[in-house]
């Protein structure tokens, strides 16, 4: 029989040197957490519940067999956040996990639908303390340590676009995009004010962040709180942060929301938005709500893209260079 290998590229897209760099990076990360007293854990990649975040799409699977008399829908996790919070509520203390996560519809120079996430939680930390922890970890794995910069979401918009992202209306943001040469600003039909902020951030600000340094952006609009605490004030601000290196988003962290009622409200809001935008309606994680309700300790948590960090360390320009087999050839 003839082998059917036509048009097959079986070779890895990562060099052997890259594969060794990845192993070394993972070892250094584990070493950092060992030294700082954070416990490595594992949680399921498949769950009966999914993230409700309208910006993140889960892959859906079906389990058939013992335990479930009818085919049972399961979702591949998009981050290990929910079960890790259940561990925190059960008294685990500081924990971290390195795992593969899965996001549908994301593929590009900086995206692969399956990627490696490092997620960790520090009880007793707020988002500022966690940013320092993130910086210490990153500087312990980089070939050369970098200067650290902390900028509020307000500051970056002010600095680069002279606009107040909290006060500006959707029309003003559209106007600002036009003024700053985004040709499609007039034509684009974006669903929310946050989508306009995302347009400005990705097209006119991001590339300037993290140049020869680690840039943390913190205190996001309350509408982008996701699972972060909202600090009351005028305007109220989400205690959330992102880390940028050389214009690339590397990590997203929260001073975690610990109110079950508010969490459920946010899930419901997400689902309403999903419905309005014609997206899949997914079951919200009731186990998480129960765990938060029983008492999630005050903590901060962060998710960091390992493949992108590896891109930074090795100066790779495409995520495929860091993956042995990207989805396109998996």
């Amino acid at each position: 029989m003839e082998l059917d290998t036509h048009h097959t590229s079986w070779q890895p897209t990562a060099s052997l040197e890259m594969i060794r760099s990845r192993a070394q990076l993972l070892a250094r990360i584990r070493d950092y957490f060992e030294r700082t007293g954070v416990l490595e854990v594992e949680t399921p990649a498949c769950s009966s519940y999914a993230t409700t975040d309208p910006a993140i799409e889960s892959f859906q699977l079906t389990y058939t067999g013992p335990g479930f008399p009818t085919p049972h829908p399961l979702y591949l996790h998009t981050s290990p956040e929910f079960p890790m919070k259940r561990l925190l509520a059960a008294g685990s203390g500081a924990i971290y996990q390195i795992c593969k996560v899965f996001r549908n519809g994301e593929l590009g120079r900086q995206h692969n639908p399956e990627f490696t996430l490092l997620e960790w939680y520090r009880p007793g930390f707020n988002h500022h303390q966690l940013m320092e922890d993130v910086a210490a970890l990153i500087n312990s794995v980089l070939p050369e340590t970098r200067e650290i910069e902390y900028l509020s979401y307000l500051e970056i918009f002010n600095q680069h676009l002279s606009i107040n992202p909290h006060q500006a209306t959707q029309t003003e943001l559209q106007q600002c995009a036009k003024q700053h040469g985004i040709a499609d600003a007039e034509r684009l039909n974006l669903p929310t004010k946050d989508a306009w902020l995302d347009l400005l951030l990705t097209h006119r600000i991001e590339s300037q962040l993290g140049r020869n340094r680690l840039s943390f952006v913190y205190d996001y609009p309350a509408s982008q709180a996701s699972l972060a605490k909202i600090r009351p004030g005028s305007p109220p601000l989400a205690e959330r942060f992102e880390l940028y290196m050389e214009g690339m988003e590397l990590a997203n962290g929260f001073h975690e929301l610990t109110q079950a009622n508010e969490q459920q409200q946010r899930f419901n809001q997400d689902l309403k938005q999903r419905e309005n935008q014609g997206q899949a309606i997914v079951p919200m994680d009731k186990n998480l709500l129960a765990a938060i309700n029983s008492g999630l300790p005050d903590c901060a948590g962060v998710a960091l893209g390992i493949d992108r960090l590896l891109m930074q360390i090795t100066q790779a320009t495409d995520i495929d260079q860091t993956l042995s087999f990207p989805t396109s050839s998996a």
Binding site: A55, E106, A183, L197, T202, H203, N252
Partner: protein, 189 residues
């Protein structure tokens, strides 16, 4: 015509933008971890050749452009239009000066060109990277001077003027790089 969604975007895809056919040069998927996804694309307008940057919301769709590229043989110029023939079907098309553009300098009758047609009308005529053309006029220069330093202008049968080494004479066939407009070598007869 059919529509393309942003998921189908890739280099070379042809679609309609603001009434003009255009081609994707580069497509980048841009998405904040917890935010709106965009496709940032570099596009060439096929009618005027201009390169622009545009942004689409991921999931949007665009109208496909009926653009095909194929090989045609150049026949003649009637003063207004350049006429080409499909060597397989003998079907003829005529291109205007905008479509022919700079290629007119290198177009020799019977040469095969790549013609881009939009809705059946030529919008781009591309000549091969290398063409062979005969020198119709150049200074006799100094026979035996092979230093090559400086060179001299030579007019070719299509009217194009290129710089050639001093030893090149009228009537010689030359290989010319049409992308740079530079002399490459003598073309052995």
């Amino acid at each position: 015509m059919a529509n393309y969604s942003t998921s189908e975007f890739k280099g070379g895809l042809k679609f309609m933008l603001d009434g003009d056919p255009c081609s994707i040069i580069e497509n980048e998927f841009v998405k904040p971890g917890k935010g709106q996804a965009f496709n940032r694309v570099k596009i060439r307008n096929l009618k005027n050749g201009r390169v622009i940057e545009r942004t689409f919301k991921s999931g949007e769709s665009v109208e496909a452009a009926d653009v095909v590229e194929s090989n045609y043989q150049y026949l003649y110029n009637d003063g207004e239009f350049w006429h080409f023939m499909d060597p397989d079907t003998y079907e003829q098309v005529s291109a205007d000066a905008t479509a022919v553009g700079e290629s007119t300098k290198w177009l020799k009758e019977q040469d095969i060109c790549t013609v881009t047609l939009w809705d059946g009308t030529p919008i781009i005529v591309e000549v091969p990277n290398f063409v062979i053309l005969t020198v119709t006029d150049t200074d006799p220069g100094l026979k035996g001077d092979t230093s090559g330093g400086g060179g001299k202008p030579a007019t070719l049968e299509t009217g194009a003027v290129v710089r050639v080494p001093l030893f090149i004479q009228i009537g010689e066939a030359l290989k010319v790089d049409t992308r740079t407009g530079e002399y490459v070598s003598r073309a052995g007869k």
